[in-house]
């Protein structure tokens, strides 16, 4: 069970003077249960890439296999793919349209042809998962706060019970509290429900604290692919494409330079704190 991209290319406006190559020869394998961070600059092709994974965009050349079947075959059931691979767009709250929160979340499962009872059950549990209070179920989605709206929109995708969840910049435009809520929710979904998660972001901190694998994109190609520790150890290369390692990594390096024997591969605060403490203890002795 996996997603395989085989020499995927995508060109916008092919055949005109405006043509631009958004994806160039991407080959990837995404296994079940992975938690992947997809990082890159604006225009590096992240959003184009994830829209291929549920068949919203068709590749100019190359193939995409979901569980072994080519999703662009003419007899492939694209609807079932969109049920399995849930895609949450950037600013998903802009897609809300129903008169109340609950019916909006019901939209996805209803389209998938679930029966009425199942629709309501999945919608209910999705709203529970994202932590929306019961007394908000029947208010207009337009009356909610920004963070709440976004959680409702994510619930709208979760209600289809996807096996793979892709989130395109889910924390954009949220305050730190809202950001932590969303990231905590994503972490919980990955851990408890075993969903494969692909988190598209350009915030290193968001990604470093959560994911098990990072894919860095640059100009439509894959620039790096590995664990956060591997990737951030090569921060010089990241800087050449205008990205950077998390602040923590830089602090650890600065400490090392000052003579404190700390682990410079730490990428999160949770990793850094014990390393600094033990280094301090060692120095006192």
């Amino acid at each position: 069970m996996s997603i395989i991209l085989d020499h995927l290319c995508h060109t916008y406006e092919a055949g005109t003077t405006l043509k631009s190559e958004a994806l160039k020869d991407i080959s990837l394998k995404i296994d079940d249960g992975e938690f992947i961070g997809l990082i890159g600059h604006t225009g590096s092709g992240k959003s184009t890439l994830v829209q291929h994974l549920n068949g919203l965009l068709k590749p100019t050349s190359g193939n995409i296999y979901y569980n072994g079947a080519d999703i662009n075959d003419s007899d492939y059931d694209i609807k079932s793919l969109r049920k399995e691979v849930g895609l949450v767009f950037q600013y998903p709250e802009h897609q809300l349209f129903e008169t109340d929160v609950f019916s909006d979340v019901c939209f996805g499962p209803k389209n998938m042809g679930f029966d009425k009872k199942e629709v309501e059950l999945t919608a209910y549990s999705a709203l529970e998962t994202v932590g929306i209070d019961h007394d908000l179920f029947y208010v207009s989605p337009f009356d909610l706060s920004g963070g709440q709206k976004r959680r409702v929109a994510i619930a709208g995708v979760l209600a289809m019970k996807p096996k793979v969840l892709i989130l395109d910049e889910p924390t954009a435009g949220l305050d730190p509290a809202g950001r932590d809520e969303i990231l905590g929710l994503v972490r919980k979904l990955h851990k408890e429900n075993g969903i494969t998660v692909i988190l598209v972001s350009h915030s290193m901190e968001d990604v470093a604290n959560n994911v098990g694998r990072i894919i860095v994109m640059e100009r439509g190609g894959i620039f790096m692919d590995g664990t956060p520790t591997d990737i951030f150890a090569r921060s010089d290369e990241l800087e050449t494409i205008g990205l950077a390692a998390p602040e923590v990594t830089y602090i650890m390096r600065a400490l090392k330079k000052k003579g404190l024997d700390v682990n410079t591969f730490a990428t999160t605060i949770d990793e850094a704190v014990p390393s600094i403490l033990s280094a301090l203890k060692a120095r006192k002795c």
């Binding site: 919203l56 969109r82 767009f89 802009h94 897609q95 939209f107 996805g108 389209n111 995708v157």
Partner: protein, 268 residues
Amino acid sequence: MLRDITLGQYYSTDSVIHRLDPRVKLMGTLCYIISLFCVKNPLGYALCALFLCIVIALSKVPVKFMIRGLKAIILLLLIAGFFNLFFTPGDPIWQWKKISISKQGIYMASTMVLRLALLIMGSSIMTLTTTPNYLTDGLEKGLGFLKVIKVPVHEIAMMMSIALRFIPILLEETDKIMKAQMARGADFESKNIIKKAKALVPLLVPLFVSAFRRANDLALAMEARCYRGGEGRTKMKPLKYKKSDAFAYIIIFAYLALCIFLGRMLFS
């Protein structure tokens, strides 16, 4: 799918026509339309077509773009041609039961189709060679005299340019919302007309909400920059007539006079 739509299509290049003052082009288009309705004989039509050909050649816009404009009204052309061809009374040349084609019918149909085609191409020259911003600038300046009778010319021009500016933004937004709803299983490709209409609700509601949100933001941004209408407002690039503009006016008016003269002479 929505990228194919082009509205207010501007063809970017540098030509004599592109450099003309937008007011000249507006006036020219108006004169050309008047001339099309003045001429009533083959010679006049030939003159109109020739004038248009010269302008197209001068504008350096590929003929392909002109034809594209015609495609939009092809049905209208066919209907106009069809009705004039079969339902104009006159001397029949060909007859089958009650349907007949007369000599006058052929003449009427061909002139009608030609007139419509020239009309569309003539006015598309203006949008193809003038950016929307220049066009509204030209309208504002050209209709400035209406301020005397309290017509809010500046406000109307401002609304026009904002509306034009929003077209590509809203198209992009539509594309995005469509994809987002498709990711939730919405079906926009259904053949069933009722289903198709129903499928528009999840698209139109967010689109309207977003249009209002953007309008609100823009209003706030304008207010924050102390926008308060056209009074006392200066332009960064004020429109100024050049020598070539005067020359163009002379050509346009000479052409119009010639058309009117031709129409009068042969029918008196």
